[in-house]
């Protein structure tokens, strides 16, 4: 009853990005997805979240088949994601960025004011929790890189996903913020959210993950707890290009 | 039921027309591949080139084919300038939309200036060989149509060799496929993109020359070309040159054949029907078009 893929494959032109990836992530844990550059991690995320249609294989979540579903359906099924190069809505304020993560349902819901009190409270709550509430009225394009990453995360969390996919949360982030992000992920996990994290920063991966899946050439080659992955020869081989 | 000879003639004319469409669509495809720009002014430049050919013939008695020696380099330069000076000024986030407006504005400018300079009167080049025709298995084909087709084939062939066999072509293809990666490989993608636009506009110069040989031209004629051309690049799959060429041939042929039962006006609708059908059934286009899914 978790996020699971079987035989997921995708090729771009002649290049195989995913080669029958069968992975099962652990519910309620912090999962990490690592592997050398070009091993298909981001393509995997894109297939799981419906941004790309896989050529073959299935995606299922909590027993529901999500293969080839539209991204917004997958998001509403409870899977939120961030993007590799953090993406926010540049010409909206930080508050609006977070508010836009609550899609309305039905006609009446759609025509309700976007600035309902309860939602603003909740959005401000997330901004406060991520320490950027003082920027609520600033447009996202005026924020620093690190602030934008936090803002993106706030938006994703606003939608209350049970599972959060993070694509390189540490990318381009200063050490102090890196520590905060690490702590935050553990806290959010303790509250019951499942995480799947693509990350190159091994210190972060080893310190916060419960379960690690290693990708090479579009498929998993090893998985296990950090202690086991650290010493796995196949992983070493993949990274060193043996 | 039309006679066999008529049918054969239509097929032949369809091929000849398809060749010209293919050449022009390849230019549109280049722009789209390089910068995700739908270049509305492409066909306005086409008409401009035809007018230049007509004008030089009228004034200096120059054969339009010779005029091409001037218009092709001129248009190449204009294409480079268009990309480097104007399009790069637009914000990347809204580039696709704003470039449509900008090139649309250029099309209006060209149409207006042509109308101002040459009035709205219909013009036609009077050539010595203008009315000559050949008989091919009972079908009569005007020599000028054959010349136009020949031009298109030679130009497309040159483009193919340029793209596949030269260092520049390699750089251009790399830029189209993955701009950032191309930059990492040391390709000056900005310059390559500029030259790509130059080549695209050069196809309009050649096409315009071919057009001036056997068509009556007037300033607003470009709207009759841009519609079919845009339909062709969508049906072929945005960004795919071979796709555009195949779609151009198929649709050119369909148009030519449908003229028999439907007449010229209604036959034009085939492009729009194909456009809507493609978007409804297979929005990424029927022949390749990796980019199209997302645009």
């Amino acid at each position: 009853m978790t996020l699971e893929t079987t035989g997921l494959s995708k090729a771009f032109g002649g290049v195989t990005a995913l080669d029958g990836a069968s992975v099962s992530f652990h519910q309620g844990e912090v999962n990490a997805l690592i592997g050398p550059n070009g091993s298909g991690k981001t393509t995997y995320f894109n297939c799981v979240t419906g941004m790309i249609k896989p050529d073959g294989g299935t995606v299922s979540y909590q027993g529901r088949d999500l293969t080839g579903k539209a991204p917004h359906r997958i998001a509403r099924a409870g899977i939120g994601r961030t993007f590799q190069l953090c993406r926010t809505f540049p010409r909206m304020t930080a508050l609006e960025n977070v508010l836009s993560a609550v899609p309305p349902t039905g006609l009446i819901g759609g025509l309700r004011s976007a600035r309902g009190r309860a939602e603003i409270e909740r959005a401000m709550g997330w901004l406060t929790r991520l320490g950027i509430e003082h920027l609520a009225g600033s447009e996202a394009r005026d924020l620093s890189w690190g602030q934008q990453k936090l803002l993106e995360l706030a938006g994703v969390l606003m939608a209350e996903p049970e599972t959060v996919l993070l694509d390189e949360p540490a990318g381009g982030v200063n050490p102090a913020l890196l520590d905060r992000i690490g702590v935050l992920i553990r806290e959010l996990n303790a509250e019951g959210r499942t995480f799947v994290i693509v990350e190159h920063n091994m210190d972060l991966v080893m310190s916060i993950s419960d379960h690690i899946v290693v990708f090479d050439r579009g498929r998993p080659i090893a998985e296990g707890p950090p202690s086991q992955i650290r010493t796995d020869e196949r992983v070493l081989g993949a990274y060193l290009g043996v | 039921m039309p006679s066999g000879a008529l049918l054969f003639q239509s097929v032949l004319l369809g091929i000849l027309l398809g060749g010209l469409y293919a050449l022009l669509a390849s230019g549109l495809t280049l722009y789209f591949g390089i910068m995700r720009v739908v270049m509305i002014a492409h066909s306005a430049f086409l008409i401009l080139a035809a007018y230049l050919g007509w004008w030089l013939h009228e004034r200096a008695g120059l054969d339009p084919l010779l005029a091409m020696l001037g218009t092709v380099p001129l248009f190449f330069g204009a294409g480079v300038l268009l990309q480097r000076v104007l399009l790069t000024r637009l914000r990347p986030a809204t580039l696709t939309m704003m470039s449509v407006l900008l090139t649309f504005a250029i099309a209006l400018l060209i149409e207006g200036l042509l109308g101002y300079a040459f009035t709205g009167t219909q013009r036609r080049v009077q050539l010595g060989y203008g009315s000559a025709s050949l008989e091919v298995f009972g079908a009569r084909v005007a020599v000028v149509k054959l010349i136009a087709f020949g031009l298109a084939v030679v130009a497309l062939g040159t483009l193919y060799v340029l793209m596949k066999r030269t260092r520049f072509g390699w750089a251009l293809r790399a830029t189209i496929q993955h701009r950032d990666a191309a930059r990492l490989l040391g390709i000056d993608t900005d310059r390559v993109a500029g030259y790509g636009f130059g080549i695209g506009l050069a196809t309009a110069a050649i096409g315009g020359t071919a057009l001036s040989l056997d068509t009556t031209i007037y300033p607003s004629l470009h709207w009759h070309w841009i519609g079919p051309l845009m339909a062709i690049i969508v049906v072929g799959g945005l960004g795919s040159v071979p796709g555009a060429a195949i779609a151009a041939m198929v649709l050119g042929m369909a148009q030519s054949l449908l003229q028999i039962p439907m007449g010229t006006t209604w036959a034009q609708t085939v492009f729009y029907v194909a456009l809507f059908a493609t978007l409804a059934i297979r929005p990424q286009g029927f022949f390749g078009g990796r980019l199209a899914q997302r645009f």
């Binding site: 836009s100 009225g137 | 900008l102 400018l109 519609g227 409804a280 929005p283």
Partner: protein
């Protein structure tokens, strides 16, 4: 405490409404009055266009065709089917709205480039059809639509001026409602980053389709009203690519993010168009002027004049606001106060 900017805005809206309503009494002659009708007509069209262009950022060059379709539907229903004029108008709005569904389904499935292509194609194909299908549309000879009222010419203009003004009010109100709604926020997130919006759970395809249909209905109603006012339809003018480009120019010039941006743009461009026609007659130069202006706006003022003016005022009038952070904090406080003090 109602904020200063809000009072200012309300005052501006009131002033605009008064100016619009007072115009027919001030207009010195029927010609000026008819030019006023035309400007309000453009204002409705530009505002209707802005439902798609402003919220989603999708540029349509084909709204002229939707207006033409509304005009012809109304005209045909009145002239050939004998329907009462305003029933025909409503039916035309509904018909074009319905027709917008399949068009939108095809055009909006992927990203903007296909939408632009479809929008231009729409104009070209409808021009072809309406010119050729002369048994129904009157072809190039045109279609004469009987007038709904037996009135003198100035009275006729005056009535239609108010009808167009009413439709404008309706369109502006609808835009304002969507702008502040959650649906509107979703649409704007599409404009900002469509992939991201989808990843956050926004049903982008459905959103785009709904707002396109709303836009089409308003556009068709304006076109239909035009048919009843003008009384004579010609495919070359109804399905002209130029109409679409005027609308884009108006909305862009005024500012697509502003409620009254398209209205302001219509005022500027509409008056300029009339002036041009009087001064220079029907020359190809109006193409040159339109093209040049459009290019300049796209290159140097893509946000329009209203934001540009607002920037100027901000720069000269409010030196006390020094940093972005202070502004945001102040705005936020205001926001919270408003919400706390608001109803419920």
């Amino acid at each position: 405490m109602p904020s200063g900017s809000k009072v200012l805005k309300l005052a501006a809206v009131a002033l605009l409404a008064v100016a619009v309503l007072a115009f027919p009494s001030i207009a010195p002659n029927p010609y000026i009055l008819s030019a006023g009708v035309l400007v309000v007509y453009y204002a409705v069209l530009a505002t209707s266009w802005n439902f798609v262009g402003g919220f989603t950022g999708y540029i349509s060059l084909g709204h002229g065709a939707l207006a033409g379709l509304g005009a012809y539907s109304t005209g045909i229903l009145v002239a050939k089917a004998g329907l009462p004029p305003f029933l025909a108008l409503a039916a035309a709005g509904a018909f074009v709205g319905l027709l917008a569904v399949p068009i939108g389904l095809a055009a909006l499935r992927v990203r903007g480039a296909s939408f632009v292509i479809v929008s231009i194609s729409l104009v070209l194909i409808l021009l072809l059809v309406f010119q050729s299908w002369s048994s129904v549309t009157g072809g190039s000879r045109g279609l004469v639509v009987p007038r709904p009222f037996q009135l003198t010419r100035p009275e006729h203009h005056r009535i239609f001026y108010f009808l167009f003004a009413g439709l404008l009010a309706l369109a502006v109100l609808a835009w304002w409602l969507i702008d502040r709604s959650r649906f509107g926020l979703g649409l704007k997130s599409i404009r900002e980053d469509e992939d991201k919006a989808e990843a956050l759970g926004t049903a982008t395809y459905a959103y785009k389709l709904i707002v396109f249909v709303v836009s089409a209905v308003f556009t068709a109603l304006a076109g239909g009203l035009y048919a009843l006012w003008f009384g004579d339809l010609d495919p070359v003018f109804q399905f002209s690519i130029l109409t679409g480009s005027y609308l884009v120019l108006m909305a862009l010039l005024g500012g697509v993010r502003q409620l009254f941006g398209p209205v302001v743009g219509a005022l500027i461009v509409g008056i300029a168009l009339e002036f041009f026609k009087v001064e220079y007659g029907d020359t190809p130069l109006h193409l040159v002027a339109t093209g040049l202006l459009l290019a300049l706006v796209v290159l140097f003022m893509p946000d329009g004049v209203l934001p540009a003016i607002a920037d100027l005022i901000k720069r000269f009038g409010r030196s006390d606001r020094t940093s972005i952070r202070e502004v945001s904090a102040a705005e936020l406080r205001e926001q919270r106060l408003q919400n706390a003090g608001g109803t419920k």
